[in-house]
Symmetry: none
Subunit: 201 residues, 4 copies
Amino acid sequence: MVLSLVFREETWCFTQGEGQGIQPRDIVCRIMAANHEGSRRVQRRAASASHGRAWMTRHHERRKPLMHAQQIIATHPQVKGNTNDALIRCIEQCYDCGQACIACADACLGEDMVAQLAQCIRSDLDCADACFATGAVASRRTGSNEAVIRAMLTACETACRACAEECERHAGHHEHCRICAEACRACERACGEALRSMQPG
Amino acid sequence: MVLSLVFREETWCFTQGEGQGIQPRDIVCRIMAANHEGSRRVQRRAASASHGRAWMTRHHERRKPLMHAQQIIATHPQVKGNTNDALIRCIEQCYDCGQACIACADACLGEDMVAQLAQCIRSDLDCADACFATGAVASRRTGSNEAVIRAMLTACETACRACAEECERHAGHHEHCRICAEACRACERACGEALRSMQPG
Amino acid sequence: MVLSLVFREETWCFTQGEGQGIQPRDIVCRIMAANHEGSRRVQRRAASASHGRAWMTRHHERRKPLMHAQQIIATHPQVKGNTNDALIRCIEQCYDCGQACIACADACLGEDMVAQLAQCIRSDLDCADACFATGAVASRRTGSNEAVIRAMLTACETACRACAEECERHAGHHEHCRICAEACRACERACGEALRSMQPG
Amino acid sequence: MVLSLVFREETWCFTQGEGQGIQPRDIVCRIMAANHEGSRRVQRRAASASHGRAWMTRHHERRKPLMHAQQIIATHPQVKGNTNDALIRCIEQCYDCGQACIACADACLGEDMVAQLAQCIRSDLDCADACFATGAVASRRTGSNEAVIRAMLTACETACRACAEECERHAGHHEHCRICAEACRACERACGEALRSMQPG
């Protein structure tokens, strides 16, 4: 039996051994360790602290900053808590993807083989522009502007697809391109889901 | 003894009762419930499922989208994993705050008392512009441009402070202003920490 | 014989009468008039000042956003002077329209009747976001990204049309809305012409 | 007696000689020449065409970004025609410079020697971000936000200076860098003048 928990932007995986329960002190000591120490020492400490009952390993390290998109939009006088979650996920993906594209363009620019990455940098910059504009338009709920939201989501989906395809060509050589392609694909999907979530208007 | 865990973008609070351990099946059944059901029913289910040993309540609901900022910048050929974490937190806060300001400006615009929120909307829009530009400049690592980063961080800190002060005036009446002020203060702090983290140049 | 001159962003049309030359003092007195007075009084002054030799009328008032866009893009290694003028006019219109929308949204926000202008402000802000992103994407010539340019031009044309329609509703009451609608219509046309100027690809 | 005229974005200076009038055919032939030929040949042609009566020289070549900025801001309910012209020139320079930087970054990216232009591309992109944010903040007149405008103008002036210095290094080899440096210097000056035009607050 495995239990995944997210703590301090890390996902931790508890695996029960010997059919016994996890004692709070075990979980707490490990979480304190995760909090105050580096991951290697944590895993050693966690291992030593687990009395044959359970152990904990860091599954992955993705940092998760908090975006306030959902919280604020839920308080909009014309929304009253009834948010379109697909559109809100899309807003978050737009800002994540836009930042990833700016950072990937800059990392490509720093590579020795930059000449071979010119198309990638250009696609990154176009995608970032489309993402930020779409994130802003999709963040507004006053009155209505559905034709514009749809057109922007369509343009953003197109830009994300083009950028993902280009970055995937370089993913084997450049980790920043691999991660950026991942962010672009996530944003491309989120734009498509947001489009499908909107009533035709 | 209380244990806080984040799962599926929700923070859950385990409180041990009767000095006994939390059994994995209790945690799992509650997390499955959190995963598949609405929070009210979860809390009922959690209560009924806790055999006098532990109970679980949802602490708050902040969604945590993943930003790839740290991952990508860590792979920059001139960074090689040696990231300035204060600057990366600042990038993430800039995009969060910028989006929060766009959404708060739009929510203010939808309020009946919009005329009394004109200064707030204007501060929101200025702050959003400063945040996105600063997030972009702070995302680049090729070559150097420290004087520009510092000037942008200073401008962003100023815009966040001004917007937070204005939003705080309306925080009692408008939840979107309260949340936006929170995002602005977090970004103001992050800009200050990023400035202090940079060697004078 | 007609001579057209641009002065202070206005095009002036000199028509020679009676086969005689235009004396510098005539031109100067009229241009001084154009400079220091409103156009109606200028035309009266110009008429009275023209001793049957030549007269000057304001041909049209369209301001001309003339940026470095054409000059720089013409020097792009892959363009080599062979610019797509429709696309360059579109870039200039995008930045002019984007700025006009930001300024109109802010002027609306300053009006006593702001509550009746909420939809106008929202359309202005969406249009500005679409315009700046489109201006940036349309400014790039390295490699290719035609599907993205086309999708952005389409989204921008949609946003400009929506904003123009909304601003035109208020053009009678608010001069900033009248001027903004003019800028939006010009940008809408420029996006359409840029789209038609691109080979399908 | 000197008469300055703007034609096709160039300022032309007519100087009357021998106390005689300028004949329309002289002006027209020169303007046709200005229209269809390069400036050197124009001046030769203009000289040869002036029968000792008047000659025409190109005064300067600076293109003039003339947007709707002034027109709209002059109609703001809190401005009532009393515009700060230094701030309006700055807005226009910000958008012109921002677009020039995007186009120069893209032209640099298309050069064979792109690896030697990495710092230039990075400075261009940072400058564009600072310019657009500053142009937006400087376009607003509702309520007040002077500390933010000043901080943004200062950051923009810094970014323009840094970009101009870098582009000037490449101005001999790349015309787009020469033109971009010109736009950056104009915007740097405009930001400085706008700062001086604001009352300390």
